[in-house]
Every structure is written in C-alpha cells, then in structure tokens.
Amino acid sequence: MSAVAHVRDAFARMAEVDAGPTGLNCILWTDEERALADAASVDAAATHGELAGVPFVAKDNIATTHLQTTCGSRILEGYVSPYEATVITRLRDAGAVLVGKSNCDEFAMGSSNEFSAWGPVLNPVDRTRVPGGSSGGSAATVAAGIVRIALGSETGGSVRQPASYCGIVGVKPTYGRVSRFGLVAFASSLDQVGVFGTTVHDAALGLEVIAGRDALDATSADCPVDRYSTAGTADLKGVVIGRPREYFPATLDPRVAARCEAALDLLRARGAEVRDVSLPHTDLAIPVYYIIAPAEASSNLARFDGVRYGLRVPANGLREMYESTRTRGFGPEVTRRILLGTYVLSAGYYDAYYKKAQEVRTLIAQDFRAVFDAGVHLLFTPTTPTPAFEFGAKSDPYEMYLNDIFTATANLAGVPAISVPIGDIDGLPIGGQLIARHFDEQTMFRGAFALEAARAGAR
C-alpha cells in the first residue's frame, strides 16, 4: 500500500470518528493537502525508511513547522513554530508522515485531558470516560484506529496512563534517551517524549527511530540505540521480574490486582522468575513530584509573557500586560501549578520544599538501583490504580494527582517504562507496566513482547 493510500485512510478514519460535536476531539490541527504531498514524496523517494508511509500524529506540545503548536493552551493560539522538533524530523526522515497534532491537557498538565483549552478528548472505548492524560489525544488517535504510531510526552505518566485507559501500548524511554529539542518544556528534568503504538512492535519501531543523542539537547545521552522492534524472544528464561509490594497495596482495586496477577502468571509461564521486591520510598513519589514538576514549570512557562509570540492582552503598562495576558491565556490547572511552583522556590521555602524534594528524589532513584543491582531485570506493576474514569469524576486536584501514583516514580528515577494492555474491567481496558534499568529499553521491550504474545496465545 502506498504512503498516499495510508494517509488517505487516516484522514477518512479521522473524519469518521473525530469530527463534529460527538467526535473524539483527539486531533487539533491538520493539513490534509500537505500530508498527502508529504506522502507522495515518500512514495516517490528512491529509498524507503523504516517507517515509510506510516501516518503519525504528534502531541500539540511538540514543535512542528506547518501545523500549530499550542500545547492545548489559549496562550499559544495560532502559534506555528519556525523550527521542527528533533523527534519530528527523525520520524519524517524515516518516511513517516505527520497527519495531525493531537489534543492534550494544557502544557501537559493533567491526567484526564479535561484541561485542554480546546475541549476534552473522549475515550474511544467508552465516550463517557476520559482517555487519560495528558497525552490523551495521541492515545485516542491510536486507539480509534486513525494511526498506528503517535508521539506523546511524559512528565509523570502522561503516555503510560492514557495508554492504559485506551487499551494500547505506551512507552516512556529513559530520561536522556530521546531528544527534548522541540518538546515544549513542562518540567525539564522529568520530561521525555514517549510513543504510543497499537502493538508493542509499533511502539518499538517508533522509539528506535526517534532515540539517540541529539547535539541540540545537552541532556540527551550518547548511548547506543538497540533495534527495539527485534527485542522479542521465544521465552523469558533467565529474566527476573520484580513485583514491588508498594505497587500492590491492600487498597488496590481487586480487579486490577487480579489482572496483574494473571499477567505475572503469563510471564512466569514464559520462563521468567517472579520475585517480590520492595521500593520503600514509593509513597513519597507523588508529594515529591508535585513539588519538583510545578517548580520547574513555573520557570519554564515564564516565557509565555505576551512579548514575542502567542496571546497578548493589551493593558496599561508592562506589569498589567503580563498579568492580563497570563491570566487569560492560562487555564486553571496551569495557573495552580505555576503558583505552587513559584511558592516552593521562594526565598525561605526553597530548602523545606524544593531542596528536600530533590533529596527524596535521590532516594526514589536509589530504590530502583538497589533492586536492579540485586539481579532484577524488570519490574512489573499496574500502570494505573483504576481503569478510565468518567468526566468530572476527579474534581479535587489531589484526587486527580493520585492517578500518577504508579507512573511518576519512573520519571523521578529516570528509568524507562512501558504500559501494555493486560485485560478489561467491565469492558474498560487496563494496562500493566514494565520498568527496566536506565537505558535498558531492550529488556523492557523483550518483556513487553512476551507479555503481549502470551496474552494473545491465552485468548
């Protein structure tokens, strides 16, 4: 099938499920003509890249040169980047065709996609429920069958959590594995571009194309990139999988626990050894995350000041212009986090909050190092404590924040993690998470391939 045909299919499916008042609202910006032209040039090219003709979407916080990059925010309404993110360039160089920018929580802050200035995204599995967030648009686009591969971004679980809620695969690589150049920063020390795929193979293909050192990102690592798409093996003999008890508390929804135990049984059946382990500082992850991430965000979002680009609300004087622009431009969750972050960095509070949080972050990272050093190759946990919830169900911000409880640890520690579907609960999908040590995406994918294959075999 030609690239043009793939792109036409993607737009046809988009028209079917995304548009209109009852649509999913997962795609914000498209340019069909341009996408078809890109596809035609892929078809005409003498050589074909690894992803030749594969349509993809990118989250609206990743810079693209012909589609807007608004980060789901009014403050960037109409903003088109004059330069392209490294991850977009790499996908396009491999022959993939950008067909749209996907909806997300404003500046990637949220766990339900209810905080987009452009309206919520509906979960394709059940339109009364959230798709998860913040990369909910990308997850829904893949789950709805518009594209096979989509880019999202992670700060505390924003790819894995929506992947779990939408019944697809979502991977967050090691911090430094993928260039952040062109990813609009939320919390720079936690942010990574992640990949959604309909299957583990799709996610692996996408990641191996975008991974690797980028001279434009000083935090990107110079570390060889394996062929993740070939990481699958016949069995998991010799692989030790840790089951961290802190991720299976007594309060965990028993149906979620049951799906996880079933998945662990499948992994065992493939030859893996499952071992109980402990990551003792897990319960501190959410408080630490909600200090560090807002602190960095308060600084990262200072550039949206109405001076150079995006929204400017005219006012009398500079200070008033800043205030009215930012008050009108930012939504409630972004405002809340900027205020929180500004507070924890303020003179007199820095040591008690930010500095302390960094110290605890080190302990969380040490937890992971200790279990991996003890011979564990992978950790298996639920991705989320529950399946997708209904719109408006989490009106208390703290309730919403607890959604990240099993995912934020990997961002704080910088380790790679992937969410793979492990079953349904009342027709709603739920994901299981595999976490590996720094830069060992290959073993992580090996486990993910095995889990996916075992579930297919078991059905």
């Binding site: 980060c71 330069y83 935090t219 960095e296 600084s299 500079l318 960095l345």
Partner: protein, 491 residues
C-alpha cells in the same frame, strides 16, 4: 593613574568608604553562550537570533565550550580556584528583554572562587590586594530600546545569550580611587588574557558598585547600597564619592542607611534611588535542569593555567629588569598587551631598548591613536627597529628619522628606501662636507672671521648653518670635526 583628587565634603572626614565591585565582562567568543548565533556587536536589531536565544517554545540551551575556556582563563588570571564541578542555575524574573523569563547563571556552585588582584602599591612598596569572591558564568539579556518608537518599547535580542562572566570582589576597597585602580587593573588583566574587549562604551565591561560608610576605626561593615548605571571608570569614581558623601551626611545627622539600589545620573552628577521593586527581587534560583553540571578535568584546568599568557605584573617586573626602563616608561609600555609585545618585537629586531622605548611611547603611540583602526600597527616592528638602528648608527639624524617615520606610516615603505629617496642619509663624504663648510664661511664672512679669530662658541652656529645649507643631510658630528680641524689650523 589619572584619578582626580577627591572633592569629598568635610562631613566625610570621620568616615571610611568601603567598596566592593561586581563586574560583568562579555567573553570574546564568536558565538553566544547557549546557541550558535553570532555574538558580534552592532548587527541590525534581532539579526543575531534563533529559537534558543528568542526563547521559542521547545528550544534548549547547549553550552559553548569556548565560553568555558575563556571564563576559566579569566579565573586563572585572577588567581581564583576553578571548581571541578560547577552548576548552572536559573535566575527567574520577568522583563521584556529577558526572553525566557530567567537568566541562565551560576549560583551555589560558581565556576571559580577565592581569587585576588593587585591594584597598586602602598607607600612601603607592598602590594594593595583586592580579594575576588567568585567568578561565575552567565548569559546576557537583550536590550530594551525606549527611544525608537513613540509610546512603545522595542526589544533587540542580539545580545540575548551572549556569554558573560561576573567577577565579584570582596569589600576590600577603601576609596573611589582604589575602586578605579581595581577596575583598571582588572581591565588590563582581562585584555592581556584576550578574554574580552573590556570596552565599557560597547557594554562589554559593566560595573555595579556596593558602597557603605563606617566611622574610621570601626571594623564592622555598614549598611551598603548598590550603585548601578555606571558607564565609565571615572563615572564609577564620581558616583562612589557622591553616594559615599550622601551616606556620610545621613549618618552624621543621626540617620540610618537603608539597603537600596541607587542609579547614577552622569549628566547631573547625582545618585537617585531606583524604583523599590528593582532592589527586592526574589530570583527563585534553582539548578538549570536543561544543562548538566559543568565538570572540568583537573588536568584540563591545570593545562589552562599553564597556557596563561604573561600577566601585567610579571611583564612590568621583567621590563624593569631586562630593559632598564623607568617606572613611567614601563607603565605606558605594559598598559596593554599589544603595546608590550610590539615594543619587545622592536627590541628583538635589534633596536636599543631605551631608544626603542622612546619611539614606541611617543611616535608610535601617537600614530596608533591617530589611526582609524587601533588594532592595526601603524608601522611594522621590523621597520621601526630599522629606523631606530639608523639613528643609533648615525645613518640619519633624529629629526630626519621623525620625518621618515611619518612617511613610513603613510606608505609602508622600508625606512632606508625613504631616507634615500628623500635625501635624508647623513652625508659624511669629505668633499661634500668641505663644499658646504666653504660655502657657509663664504656667505657669512663676519661669523667666519670671528670663528677664525678663535671664537669657539660660534662653532655651533656654523654647524647649524651647514646643516641648513645641506638641507639636513650633513652628518653634524663630521661637520663638527671638520670645523674643529679648521679652527685648530686657523683657517
């Protein structure tokens, strides 16, 4: 040092001035600190910008290694200890010419600490030393242009992201004059090491001064104010005296000083308080997550110190020892590194050190100052050495040499060629000299007869007349000998 005598009012007599300086120096890199835009001065507004220095969404900083190299060199030149690990930090504040809403700087762990700089000598010959607290790297902000469009402020971000070092001194200076001496010594070291142009007019060297007053004999520091908007060294000295006098008056009348930022108004010669919020920022510093800690290998740090060029103090000592020059001569010849190197090149090419010093200090400096581009030598060191040697060897007279110098600066010809063409080579041929002497004696019979009559004082007059008749070509020594011989013979 050319500082004017202080004109402090008598109320200050009971008080001592205490000064610490914060100096920002723009590093002489080709490109900016965190992107590859040109850092050149004077381009069209916003011509030297890119996504990084415009702070477009998603852009990231990447550290310029050349900036690190220069910053470390400056730290060594100030005898500071370079930290193997230093950390970039964000200094957060809103301003239209600060596109990211934060400046990348260093805070907790600066590039270097604990340096010092000698700024002169006490009466007993011991050096006056100012301690340097820290040297850290940071980026510059852009420029707000208020006078280009009426009712609006324009922003030029060419300077945004240009690499700087900030050099913070201890409060070790006790007068405006010492502050001036510190700045001149610092500028000299910075120029010697080619770290920066250190040009205050173009803003590549900027000074903020912290000043306080305390009763003489008191050891505790008084409350300081920070004086900003200083745009020349003499302005710094004047501003310090004005602010110190203001503080003395407040203290003498029983008042207290409030810690505040003051702005110097050079036109009015006044300081006035800045708007209060400019002085009370909470910058919410935290480590810059986009840049890993800067780690420098100890061997690299050492190498950088070894590669340091000769510093002014060392050069001054060597010039005194090797060339037997006076302190005044040394001061001029070592004021900047190029002059010292030029002088030494002239000496190395065979010129007498003392004579070469005279030429460089007077004629050469004058020509250099008159030239449109001060970086271009008006005459090559080889040519000047040739000229100095021609004078020493009596090939040309000193006055003819001055003429040759002027022509050589214009035409770049070798001095000997000019001397030949212009007929300035001193004539020692006896026939020619005899001809001129005979001519002069014949044309001045009265003088001639008195000379013959034994009036030796007239010999000088006759030499002058011979020089004139020869249009400066006659070798005055030879003419003297000839006339002495005539006098002895009674001719």
């Amino acid at each position: 040092m050319s500082a004017k005598e202080s004109t402090l009012p008598s109320v200050c007599d009971a008080y001592e001035m205490v000064v610490g300086l914060e100096v920002h120096v723009q590093l002489l890199t080709r490109t900016k600190a965190f992107c590859s835009c040109s850092s050149a001065y004077g381009a069209a507004p916003n011509a030297n910008t890119c996504p990084v220095c415009l702070a477009l969404p998603g852009a990231l900083p990447v550290l310029n290694e050349e900036a690190v190299r220069l910053a470390v060199r400056a730290a060594h030149a100030l005898s500071a200890t370079v930290n193997e690990t230093s950390i970039f930090a964000r200094k957060n504040y809103f301003y239209p010419d600060l596109p990211k809403g934060y400046q990348i700087s260093q805070f907790d762990k600066p590039l270097a600490e604990q340096g010092k700089l000698d700024i002169g000598k006490n009466a007993d010959g011991t050096p006056i030393t100012v301690r340097i607290t820290r040297v850290h790297m940071e980026e510059d902000a852009g420029k707000s242009v208020h006078d280009r469009y009426s009712g609006a402020t324009a922003i030029d971000l060419n300077r945004s992201g240009v690499p700087l070092i900030e050099i913070v001194s201890e409060p070790d200076m006790r007068s405006a004059r010492e502050a001036g001496a510190y700045l001149r010594a610092l500028k000299q070291v910075i120029e010697y090491t080619s770290v920066s142009d250190a040009n205050m007019e173009e803003g590549s060297l900027r000074v903020d001064a912290n000043v306080s007053a305390r009763l003489r004999g008191e050891t505790k520091l008084g409350t300081k104010t920070e004086v900003k908007n200083l745009n020349s060294f003499s302005g710094v000295e004047r501003a310090l005296e004005v602010e110190f006098a203001r503080q003395c008056e407040v203290l003498a009348s029983g008042g207290t000083i409030t810690q505040h930022t003051m702005l110097w108004d050079a036109n009015r010669g006044e300081v006035r308080p800045a708007r209060s919020k400019e002085g009370s920022h909470d910058y919410r510093y935290f480590p810059e997550p986009d840049l890993p800690p800067l780690r420098l290998a100890p061997a690299w740090i050492d190498q950088s110190r070894m590669a340091l060029p000769e510093l002014p103090s060392a050069k001054q000592a060597r010039f005194a020892a090797d060339y037997k020059l006076t302190p005044a001569e040394i001061e001029v010849l070592t004021a900047d590194a190029p002059t010292g190197s030029y002088y030494e090149a002239v000496v190395k090419a065979g010129a007498d050190p003392k004579a070469a010093a005279n030429w460089v200090i007077r004629d050469y400096k004058q020509a250099a100052n008159a030239s449109p581009d001060p970086r271009v030598e008006p005459i090559s060191s080889g040519s000047l050495a040739d000229l100095v040697k021609m004078v020493s060897n009596d090939v040309v007279s000193r006055s003819a040499a001055a003429k040759i110098f002027t022509i050589a600066v214009q035409t770049k010809e070798p001095p000997l060629d000019i001397a030949k063409r212009e007929g300035l080579i001193q004539e020692r041929n006896e026939d020619a000299l005899t001809g001129w002497v005979d001519q002069v004696l014949a044309e001045n019979p009265d003088v001639a007869s008195r000379f013959r009559g034994g009036d030796k004082k007239l010999q000088g007059v006759l030499v002058g007349l011979v020089m004139k008749a020869s249009k400066g070509r006659a070798d005055p020594k030879a003419v003297n000998q000839l006339l002495s011989a005539r006098a002895a013979a009674g001719e």
